[in-house]
Symmetry: C2
Amino acid sequence: MAPKSDVSEERKSQILEAAKQAFSEQGIHKTRMSDIAESSGLSKGSLYWYFDSKDAIILALLDKVFEPEIQEMEALLEDPRSAEEKLLIYAERGGQDIINMLRWMPLIYDFFALAFRQKKIKEYISHYYKKNLALLEILIQQGIDSGEFKTNNPQDAAITIGSIIEGTVMLWMYDPESIDIVQHIKSNIQLLLNGLRS
Amino acid sequence: MAPKSDVSEERKSQILEAAKQAFSEQGIHKTRMSDIAESSGLSKGSLYWYFDSKDAIILALLDKVFEPEIQEMEALLEDPRSAEEKLLIYAERGGQDIINMLRWMPLIYDFFALAFRQKKIKEYISHYYKKNLALLEILIQQGIDSGEFKTNNPQDAAITIGSIIEGTVMLWMYDPESIDIVQHIKSNIQLLLNGLRS
DNA sequence: TATAACTGACTGACTGGTCAGTTTAGAATC
DNA sequence: GATTCTAAACTGACCAGTCAGTCAGTTATA
């Protein structure tokens, strides 16, 4: 028997939460292990009790940030509802997700930049986008089957929708005054659907 | 009078070229001043003769990377040709630009991530995107005037096209096997135009 | 021969990671 | 229920390495 109750999950979570905050505010590189230690309420030594290295913290955090989204998408892929319903759920949830993710965007962009140098990070992000595109493709295919859309290449259309969402976020990030992100994603996709409609 | 012919422009260019290469390959942060010195064929001391700091090199490089594009866009904004001609030029040039920029993408994404922490970098990137959107808006407005397009909001349409291009690059970066970028940008915009067409 | 251009050894601040030692929650024993 | 024991949990001073930036001295050229 363990002579103490196991606090390791709680501690890991404490550390990752502190890292997420610090990385977002100061950037992954500028953040010191001592910063994470301080704001997690633990000592530097404890960080190394739970994680092998700063890199291990970065990877664990990548998982923490993206995993819920990937889970959600996988669940929606399996969901037996109709394309229309799924598309509705996807759009509503997607808009909300972006708003929820906003304060972590600096961290996410650090991940994007790191991905060019760290295979595991690139693989993780690829995995995320592929899930996203697969889901969109199903939605569109179902739209075709129901006679709502007309296109001979649902994969292309999925990529277009995915591009619109990613690109809108990107443009908005660097010009937030002139772009209302949620409204634009909606109207952009509307514009596209005009092109898809039979 | 200068006792030597002025080589400072040439040296600065040498340094920035070496920095561009090194930053792209290893990342801005991992690149050492000594790496830049070595591959520029100068000494570390000389780097500091021409630039105040590593940060100064980063900023000068940002300018070197984006300025030609901004120049091109400004010129095209002033160009008296018709919307159709401009759109054609823009599309062709845009595809080529992406191909030309490919090897510098890791550097560009480092800039994007840095933008969250450095006001000057964010301003520069904003400036770039705003020029881009302004140009697109003009092209679309001219398309409306000529009766080719039908929309009551050319700004929205410009943002949509901009999003498609940026987003396609993004998706392609993390899933290059399943996305043919040039072909997709074309077909994506085509799809959108179907929605715009009167 | 004045000075712009250049060099590279050096410095000092910094930081990821280590480790010898301490604390503490609970188990075992009486 | 007090005492002892154990290992997990924790600490922070320290170390070895790193690197941006400096500067005293050298070289090349007009």
